[in-house]
Subunit: 305 residues, 2 copies
């Protein structure tokens, strides 16, 4: 059975739980009870593991909790959905104690509240092992439906919502999931396909191309390379970092050229940079500044050279 | 980014994924998309951790996967809901390889299918740490609504659906979650309050009593003590095991005396043993065979003597 500290922590979390109009029953019974509105529901889950997704000594428990919520919000954003509720499972390292667990929860809750998400349930455990956090996020599709990875068409323009690469230097803990941007884009234009960049531009673009049955050419000239990517000192170029580094958590999406023009002409409040074009020819290429074409393999160049 | 083995495993899982009429989009995009029927939804999540909830050397990966699904099914049963879909997050120990992961998934999938549950999404990771499995289960309330912990009334009879204690000897890995029993009981009688026994009869009964604002007396004579509880050789009595041991995963429920009589009179196919009575006097007592009354503290006697 749960020990005294686990029960005290669960009580503390329960007292802080937000209510929500559709929530018939929150933390404290065998299940949460939620009345759906009738819209299609979106479900996503992500597990964060100590020393894989974060290092406890290099950050704060608040930022770890924040990241656990943020990566899931990013998945809901990738479908242009509205996040609504979350369940949180944790395996807490006993020796770190109650205060650590509270800060972790605070980090999750602050970001949840910012995005209108109620934490409606969970499972709180302690053990002698490393910290593991599993968040399941529930969202709703808007009246325009969920945006999939599979609808990109030859001729479409490819956009990203922000600079890429070097996320390991800090962005992976502090990024803002592009939920609002996705909803605004979904309202403005017909999003043919979208994905959030978690594995790296090259890998995630390949996922989108595979699902859509198309290829693409990127333009080196237009690729937004982050300051952090330029600060990396491992001998790889900033372009390589922008293509290969994971955890940018920006959105990559494809729209028709006319919708692309519309994005340029509209003061939408969403930063969107055109980085390439969808083509019927399979695979992914990049047009370099010198005019040459270079293959972009699935893992970026990192794993190939 | 995910390594080759992770991607191969995700592909393998995706190919085996069941379809379901309400599932608009399953494994393979940023989120699963599910069309709810309109009934209130039930959500529960449980995290199983190596050497806390199972030992890899003492069992099979199939049974570990089965347990991860079964404990969540038991939570849906506790609300008398219908389970419908699951998301599975895992942190797999790299050195155990692909076959271990497949067997783990098979164990989850076999039990899911038995209960009509579609695995609609997840997050598959490998690391050098111990095995962690997090399952989130989604269910629907029936037209009679979800059964909470909080509705027990003085005079109600208390029932359990099976023998208690000694689960550690094997039952915790092989138990059948009482989903069908709960639905049948919910159809037959007015379930005032229900909980599944995961922390042990004493602890879970106290949860139910706290939420309902009542007390209870148990009858030693009627308590179904499992064979396993009698086989335990740690010097504690089998009664102590039945009261204190966790992971029975039977249902504990309260009904009116007339509904209790109805359960005795009906050939329902559900084993239900009357073990006590709800009273207005707070706390929990047990009437011993010799007629004496003894307090049953929250943790059973285990933590008190």
């Amino acid at each position: 059975m749960p020990d005294h500290n686990e029960l005290a922590l669960i009580d503390w979390i329960r007292q802080r739980a937000a209510s929500a109009p559709s929530l018939q029953l929150g933390i404290g019974d065998d299940c949460a009870v939620w009345q759906p509105s009738g819209s299609p529901l979106l479900f996503t889950t992500d597990v964060l593991m100590e020393d894989v997704d974060f290092r406890v000594v290099e950050t704060t428990p608040q930022l770890i909790g924040r990241k656990a919520m943020a990566v899931n919000l990013s998945d809901i954003a990738a479908m242009a959905g509205r996040p609504i509720a979350a369940l949180v499972g944790v395996a807490l390292t006993k020796s770190r104690g109650f205060e650590f667990a509270k800060h972790l929860h605070e980090g999750m809750q602050l970001l949840s509240e910012e995005f209108g998400v109620a934490i409606i349930g969970g499972d709180t455990n302690t053990w002698d092992g490393p910290l593991v956090i599993s968040v399941t996020l529930i969202g709703e599709a808007t009246e325009r439906g969920p945006v999939r990875r599979s609808g990109a068409k030859p001729g479409d323009w490819l956009f990203v919502t922000g600079p890429l690469g070097g996320s390991i230097l800090g962005h992976h803990l502090t990024f803002t999931p592009r939920v609002r941007e996705a909803l605004e884009l979904h309202r403005l234009v017909d999003l043919h396909a979208m994905i959030d960049l978690s594995d790296g531009l090259a890998a995630d673009l390949h996922h989108l191309l595979d699902e859509s049955g198309v290829g693409a050419t990127l333009f080196e000239d237009s690729l937004p390379v982050s300051e952090a990517a330029r600060r990396m000192t491992d001998g790889r170029s900033s372009l390589e970092h922008a293509l290969s580094d994971g955890e940018d958590f920006e959105l990559l999406f494809a729209v028709s050229p006319s919708d692309g023009e519309k994005l340029f002409a509209t003061a939408s409040g969403v930063t969107a940079t055109r980085i390439g074009e969808i083509e019927s020819q399979p695979g992914c290429r990049i047009q370099m500044r010198d005019g040459s074409l270079r293959d972009v393999p699935r893992g970026g160049w990192e794993h190939s050279f």
